[in-house]
């Protein structure tokens, strides 16, 4: 017995690994074989198992649509109408332009699929993953594909759902190219942020039945605007009205000086006989002081200063206007970069 152990270990190690769980693709392949063998229940079961797999091994879109085609056909022959509709609607919502293979499936299945496709109003959007363009003068392009002829409203919306700019409102047949110049409804370049390309599909009753939302992350280039000239400093403005200072200076200098000249000599040189000319000079000084006071008393408008200030402010307004206009031109030349995210489809139609 003791000599058997190495042999047993060797046999175990050399044996092929036990088959793990089959991949979704293999499940679909086995389902197709079962469908061809008319083992419809097995086919349905395998496909549902394959579609239920999540994670890295999940089916590609093409594989998924093919699997759904087989699922729909198998349910058709199993007479499960609701399951057929569900499978085919899922195909249409995933890819409105998908056609089931009429070489594989019989006409009654393909015609039913066509009916489902006609009645399932939905659009799919193809947008560049990253695009750069100049707002206003260039444009961003998206391609819309419709399941069938119906009315849509395509727009760019803000993150809160409010419409920023309607891009198209009307009927769509097979496909439609829509454009956005990066401006909002006020013809202003949008700022950086998250926006959404939305496409509302309207049903036969006029109600919105589906809403496609494609997130758009918009970044705007830095704008080198010219600085607005600051208002001239207060120190540059001349006083527009006279102040009291000069008037008081004139009053003090004239009147006090005049009185001093007239009266002080007697006190200064009492033993002298000051001449009367002191009254002439002192009187003239006093009168001149009063005249200077009244001519310069505060509140009088200074016309030349007012004109100089108006010229100063007018020149500033001109420069400010020029700079503001230049900035408007520069802001209209915003370069936008749009990164599109994965679309989501909101089904607004009741079950």
């Amino acid at each position: 017995m003791g000599r058997c152990w190495p042999l047993c270990v060797a046999v175990v190690l050399a044996a092929p690994p036990i088959a793990s769980a089959q991949s979704p693709s293999e499940l679909v392949a086995r389902a197709v074989e079962a469908y061809d063998d008319l083992d419809l229940a097995t086919a349905v079961g395998l496909i549902r198992r394959a579609l239920a797999v999540q994670g890295p091994e999940t089916l590609s879109l093409h594989e998924e649509l093919r699997a759904l085609s087989y699922l729909g056909a198998a349910e058709f022959y199993r007479d499960n109408q609701d399951s057929v509709l569900a499978a085919f609607q899922r195909i249409v919502k995933s890819d409105p332009r998908f056609q089931i293979d009429d070489l594989v499936f019989p006409p009654e299945v393909t015609s039913l699929f066509a009916l489902v496709r006609r009645d399932t109003k939905v659009v799919r959007a193809e947008v560049p993953a990253v695009d750069r363009f100049r707002a206003g003068s260039e444009r961003w392009t998206a391609q819309l594909y419709a399941s069938s002829y119906h009315e849509i409203l395509a727009a760019v919306a803000r993150a809160d759902g409010s419409l920023l700019r309607v891009l198209y409102s009307g009927l769509i047949g097979d496909s439609l190219e829509i454009y956005w110049d990066g401006l909002d409804s006020a013809r202003t370049p949008v700022g950086a942020g998250r926006y959404f390309l939305t496409a509302q599909s309207t049903g036969r009753t006029g109600n919105v039945v589906r809403l496609l939302r494609v997130p758009l992350d918009v970044s705007a280039s830095e704008i080198d605007t010219v600085p607005l000239p600051p208002r001239p400093a207060d120190s540059l403005f001349l006083p527009e009205r006279t102040s009291r200072g000069p008037a008081l200076e004139a009053l003090a200098g004239g009147v006090i000086g005049g009185v001093a000249v007239a009266l002080l000599p007697s006190a200064l040189a009492s033993d002298t006989d000051p001449s009367a000319s002191r009254f002439l000079v002192g009187g003239a000084m006093t009168i001149a002081g009063f005249v200077g006071f009244f001519k310069q008393r505060g509140g009088q408008p200074i016309a030349e200063n007012i004109a100089a200030n108006e010229a100063l402010i007018g020149e500033w307004r001109l420069r400010y206007g020029d700079a503001a206009r230049r900035n408007e031109e520069l802001r209209a030349q915003v370069d936008l970069e749009i990164r599109a995210g994965p679309p989501t489809l909101v089904d607004l139609e009741g079950p």
Binding site: T242, P246, E249, A250, A252, G253, G254, I256, G257, G258, A260, V261, L264, P265, L268, A269, D271, T272, D273, P274, S275, S277, R278, L280, V281, G282, A284, M285, A288, G289, V291, G292, K295, Q296
Partner: protein, 215 residues
Amino acid sequence: VILRRAAAILGLLVLTAGNVLAAQERNRWMAAGIVGLANVTQSTTLDTTKLSGPVVGLEAGIRFRWAELRGRYSQGNLDQDEGGEGADLVEGELMLGVWPVKPLALRFGPRARSFVTPAGTIRWVFWEARARFEASLSRSASVWSYFEGWYVVSGSVNAAASFDNGRGIEGGLGFQIPSTPLQVRAAYRIDRGALQDDVRTEGVDALMLSIGVGR
């Protein structure tokens, strides 16, 4: 004594100048001719003599920011009011000044006065400290008034008695003709000097008109 007082006054002026506003008014200058009418009252313990007559002279000054230098010279032949002998009056001064604030100037310097008579010459020398207030009477500063008072900090006279005290004032109106450098000024001045115990006092007042140029 004179030198000590002069040094003290000069020191005061320099200290004041150190605190003046950094940028005072623009630099200025003036030069003018003077005509005037002078009245002199000379009193001694014995009598009083009055003389009067015209004087003429020159004055000039320059101001650089807050510092200035001014000089004046005048002379005239005076007649005795009561018909006695006349005298020649010769007067000169040189003042150094500063403007610590815009309307106020402080000055210091010597002033000399001589009375020349056939009997001899009496010469006074005053070292004066002055304060001058100058006010603009019009917005364009083309009319101004000024008042100046001074005190003699030290003096001498060529007489038997020594100098005792002296003081004076001057006030007037100036007018600069617009757009020209022409200046006209009318002023009244009076000063008094006295010897010890008032053995002799001398008062001079004058009405002066000066016409010149300046900025």
